[in-house]
Structures are given as C-alpha cells and as structure tokens.
Amino acid sequence: MTTTTLAVLVPLLPFLGSAAGLLLGRRAPGFVRPLAVLPTLAAAVLAVFVAARQGGGKTIEAATQLTPTGSVPIDLALHIDGFAALAAVLVGVVATCVQIYSTGYLRDDPRYPSYAALVSLFTSAMLLVVYSGDLMVLLVGWEIMGICSYFLVGHYWETPEARAASLKAFLVTKLGDVPFLIGLFALAADAGTFRIDGILGAVAGDGLDHPTLIALLLLAGVAGKSAQFPLHTWLPDAMAGPTPVSALIHAATMVAAGIYFVARLLPVFASSSAALTVLAVMAAITMVGSALAALAQDDIKRVLAYSTIGQLGYMAGALAVGDRGAAVFHLLSHGAFKALLFLAAGAVIHAAGTNSLSAMSRMSGLTRRIPDAYWTMTVALLALAALPPFAGFFSKEAVLVAAEHTALGDRTVAPAGAGWTVLVAGLLTALLTAAYAMRLWLLAFRGRGAEAPDHGRQPLAMTTVLWVLAVPSLGFGLSVTYLDDWFDGHALTPTVTTAVLGTGIAVVGALVTYAVWQRTRALAARTPLGAVAAHPEGGAGLVEAEAIAGHAPAYGDIASAPDPADPGRVLLGPLHRHAATGFHLDAVYRTLFVRPVQAGASLVRFLDREVVDTYVRGAGTGTNWLGWLVRRAQTGNVQTYLSALLAGSVVLAIAAVVLANVAAGA
C-alpha cells in the first residue's frame, strides 16, 4: 500500500470502529472491547508506519476536491510533514493505551460501549486534525473533538459537577471557536485557499493583508482549545470526567490541538509581531498562574489539570518565540508523561478511595498497594519537574533555549520582549512546577496514618499500560539529537546556561517543598481529615465518581481542603486562598457573563410570560365572553325567537318605507 493509503486509513479505522461500536454496543456486548481497542491499535501501528516512511523528509501532499464552493474550494487533503507524522504517533499510542486502560478501569460501567465508541470517535477526529491539509476539514475534526469532550466529561452525568463541567467545557471552547471560525474565513479569503500549503505559500510570497487581525482571531480559538488564559477555566472542571478521558483528551491530545494548529500555521502568526507578543504574554500568565493554582489544589486530578495548563503554556511560549520544533517536542514528551500521570492518578484514586491529597497524606501504605502506579508516577513527576535525564527536561530545555536565543537577539523570528517574557515566566514556572510535583508526590505517597484499604491487585490492563507509557517518559528526551531532522532542522539540544539554571531552580523548588513538608507533616496527625468513597470495593470508575461527588460535601470546596498540614498552604501564604479558586476567574466570569445572561433570560421570560401570553390568553377570554353573551339569547323558547323575528321584520319594513319616502321626497 502507498503511504497515502496508509495515512487515510489512520483516521478512518477508529471512525469505523466507533460507528460499529455505537451500532453493536447493546446487541453484541462481546464485540465492544475488541471494537474499541483493535481499530485504535491498528491506527497507532499504521501511524508508526507512516512516520517511518515519511521519515522527517519531504512533506507528503495528496488532495482530492471535496466540493466546489464557487469561491474557495474545500479539499480532502493530506499534509504530512515531520510534525504531523510524530503527533499522529503520539495520538495513536496514547489513545491505544487509554482504550486498554479503560477496559480495566470502566470494567463494570453500564455505559462502557458508548464511552468506548466516543473515545474512538475522538481519536479519529484528532488524527483528522493532525493529518488534514485543509483548514475546513481540520475544523470538522476540531469540532467533533469538542462535542466528544462534552459527552465524555459528562460521562457521570448523574452528578451535578459532571453536568456543569461538561456544559462549561463546551461553552468556553465554543466561545473561542467563533472567532476561530471567522479567522479561518478571513485567512482563506486573504490567501484564496483553505489548503495549508497554499496558505503557507501565500504567506511566503506576498504576505497577508491583515496578519495581526487573522492571527488574533485564530488565537482566540487556540486559547479555548488549548486552555490558555483567559479561556482555560474549563479544563480544571473537566476533571469531573473519568480519569482515562482526562488522560486522553484533557492532557495528551485535544488540548494539544491548539498548539499543533499554531505550529502548522506558524508563518501566519510570525508575520505579525503583535500576535506573537500577545501569545507570549498569554503563555506567561498561563504558566505562572496555573502553576500557583496547582500548588493550592487538593484534588489530585485538578493538580494535574493545572499542570497541563502550565505545560501548554510552555508550548505556547515556544510558539511565541517562533520555535515550533521546541513546541511540538514538548507536546510529544508532555503527551506521554501527562497521560501516564493521569492514568496513574486513576489507580491512586481507586486504591485510596478518595481524590483528596489531604486525605491521602493521612493514609499510609499506598505505595505497597499500588507499586506500579507509585513507580511510574514517580518517573512521570520527575519528567514533569524537568529533571535530567527524563523526557520533560529535554523538551522544556528546548523551549527555554529558544526563548533565551530570542531574548538575547540570536533569533529574530519574534521580538526580544516576547523572548524575555517567556524566559522569565518559564524559569519561574520551572520552580513552581517542581514544587507542586514534589508536593503531589509527598502527599500522595509519603502519608502517615491509617493503613490504606486493600482492594487486591489492580487489573493487568491498567498496570501494563502504565509501564508502557513510562518508557517514553523516561527515554523520549534522549532522541533529541535525532528529532530535529523531523522538525524545522535547528538543534533542540540543551545549552549549558539554561540547563544549569532550569535544573537548579527545579531542584531548589523541590527541596524547599520537601523542607516545608518535613515541618508541616507533624500537623497532619493533629487535624484528622479524610472521607472515602461509599463503595471502596466497587470498580475504579464508580469509586472515582463517588470521590469527585463527595469532595465538596466533605471538605467544603471542590478544589481545596482546610488542611493546615498542606505544604502548599505554607508556601503560598496569603496567596493560597486565591490560588485555590484559580484566582477568582470563575467569579469574574460569573459577574461579567453568567449574571447578565441570566438577567437577560429572566427579562425574556418576563416578556414571554407576561406580555406575549397576555395577548394569547386575551384572545381566548374575549371569545369566551362573546360566546357567553350570545348564549344568553338562546332561551329554548320558540315563541321568543318568533317575537324577535317579528320585531326584526317590522323594523326592516318601517326602514324600507321610510327610506322609500325619503328617496321619493328627495
């Protein structure tokens, strides 16, 4: 088969698997698991083949016109360069891991068939986004991902948290998608085509007429999808979905779609230094803010969610300094270790029966219950904190090196101010990242107190996947010298300055957290805390749903717990209160958007109920009264009718005579 055929099959197979799963899910339950796992696995294998054949060499282009539109045609086009080939491998591998993990994690879930089909559909849409060479087709995949995310976040729709979170995720991302769509149209109108190669050719040739406007409109969609400030607030709440969904959608792939999109169209953004500066500032605020918020969260998955936002900020920062190689490199390594972190967190939540770090810090022996999750999570946290030689170190260094070069003027793609912004924010975030990674690890695995409950061994499907993902988390960074051929070609290797600076800062952050934890852990015994799920013996999915639903009633808030032994509380000091709520951004949005919309809705309700309905009801009441009057005349007495008839005849006769006389007189 040609490479093109293979590449077409990559998004097609999970789509077919999803359609078959949705159709057969109820009638043939035996086929659900194979239909979920096998097409995704085949797509992953094919993606590896495509990547091997493409080999970072010449871009593979293939297109067939989908529909003539009269102006700008829409094509079914493939555009596979090194970025697309590697991103597709990441999506395929993570999606396969997640599907296998889900067979164990949601073993007893009654809605597993539709869940698996939606995950397959999501995988297919993401692969479409990755491979598509036409922006309209890319948009189709982009929107399918949005709706799949909505359904999957709301998987536990019995709980109000999940319902609210799924709606929020959908609305906030759509808020970005509207300007995104307008930006796409503006871009296509400017360049005369939706094809990516055509657009890049137009940018390289004459340039665009309004690059800043287009870039800013597109950035709105990217900020929504990739959870960048100020549209990031949906991502922490999206953790109300099952853990595998968080791992696949909200860590490794969908949120990376925005970054990937900017990477594809980087020349468009690079032609406007204002857009790059906006992106740099956005990335810097996102990085630092999310890292501070992560330090204050109590729900283990919300820590990871804020950490995802921060890492996406690194990628956006790399794009802001015009280095898409570094951005996609970080995207790939982050996809691997963040998926691992989430999947391991799922195992931890199942074993501990709670998602609260405060409760876990009062529980001992968790490491003995789930040794696989413990070791793999340690690897992934080291990668997250960017300590050498783990994957995160190399990719984060690539970002910092690009920022440093831009700041010092060695690279001229982006303004130096953007470089300084990203560099300073990146180093500060490295400190905070190490701190919250250390806090997470200490609270989850170094707790003291009652023995953790024993639920037996985790299913093999879950533990195997963890070790599979631990391999790239550990070793992917070592491919750095080989990888730059796949990307734009400039080196991604760390330099001594940033390596020493970044690693040193990370170590300092971790050590400070450790020291604080040493002092505060004594407090833990004095303030008992901890509530576990109602059915700790149940399946992992059930335990997690109960843990999420139980967090707010047990600790007073969905994000934080009143735990004086939390090192994050000591480190953040007075900031903790604000960081725990994500710096009150939700409250601001509530005042700015939710309240006015609700007021408008009540106004419309008033107009409908009181004004429009009055007319409608009045029409009925008036007819009734008229009918009542006419009914008075119906006495049933024939003689009355005859009298009325006679009176009428007499009146008519007199009128006729009078009129005749008047006419005659005139």
Partner: protein, 124 residues
C-alpha cells in the same frame, strides 16, 4: 264591495293569529293560530284576485294551494303535538326548552329522568 272590508278583516284575522302564535302556551292553540294567519292570507288573495280582475285567477289558485298545504301541515303538526304530549304529559310550548343554552351543558337535574320515564311509558 269595497276592498277595504276584506283587507281590514284579513288584517284583524292575521293579528289574532299572530297573537295566538306568540302568546298562547298550548301547542294546539298555536297551530290553530297558524291556521288563522294562513286564512287571513287566503282572504287577502281572493279579495285582491277579484279586485284586480285577474283573468288567470292566480290568487284563487294560490288559495287552493295554501289550503292543501295547510291541511298537510296541520296533520303533521298535530301528530308532533300528540307525540310531544305522550312523551311529556303536556303540550305547553313554554316548557319545551330542551334547546336552551345553559352554562352547564348537562340538562337540569330531575327533568331528564322524568322525561325518560314518561318516554318509556309511552312506548310501552
């Protein structure tokens, strides 16, 4: 003879008939009043026929028609009155108010069962 005498007589007869139709309560008397009105019309027709010296005597022909139709009408009318009397035990026109519009569409209590009982009695 002057036309005024039969015309006045016809008008008086018609008024008596009209009064009977509108004011009498006995159905048979109402029917008789209808006959009075018809005969007033007949009188008019004959009088005008003579007065106009109509060669075709259309007035007299009409009168014959009316007499025939009145005979048929009174036969059917009396049959109806008889049936109503058998059903209700009365031929009072004021009490035949089944088509009256009331606020509640069901007939007034007490009236309907009595009517049904009398009907059963009549058919037996």
């Amino acid at each position: 003879m002057h036309l005024a005498y039969p015309a006045v007589l016809a008008a008086l007869l018609f008024c008596v008939g009209l009064y009977g139709v509108l004011a009498r309560r006995n159905a048979i008397l109402v029917l008789m009043s209808v006959e009075l009105m018809l005969n007033a019309v007949n009188l008019n027709l004959v009088a005008f026929d003579v007065w106009l010296r109509d060669t075709l005597h259309a007035g007299q022909a009409f009168t014959l028609f009316i007499i025939a139709i009145a005979a048929a009408e009174i036969g059917i009318g009396l049959a109806i009155v008889l049936m109503v009397y058998r059903n209700r035990g009365s031929s009072d026109v004021d009490r035949l108010r089944d088509t009256a519009e009331t606020d509640e569409s069901a007939p007034a209590p007490g009236e309907a069962p009595a009517a049904a009982g009398e009907k059963a009695e009549a058919t037996a």
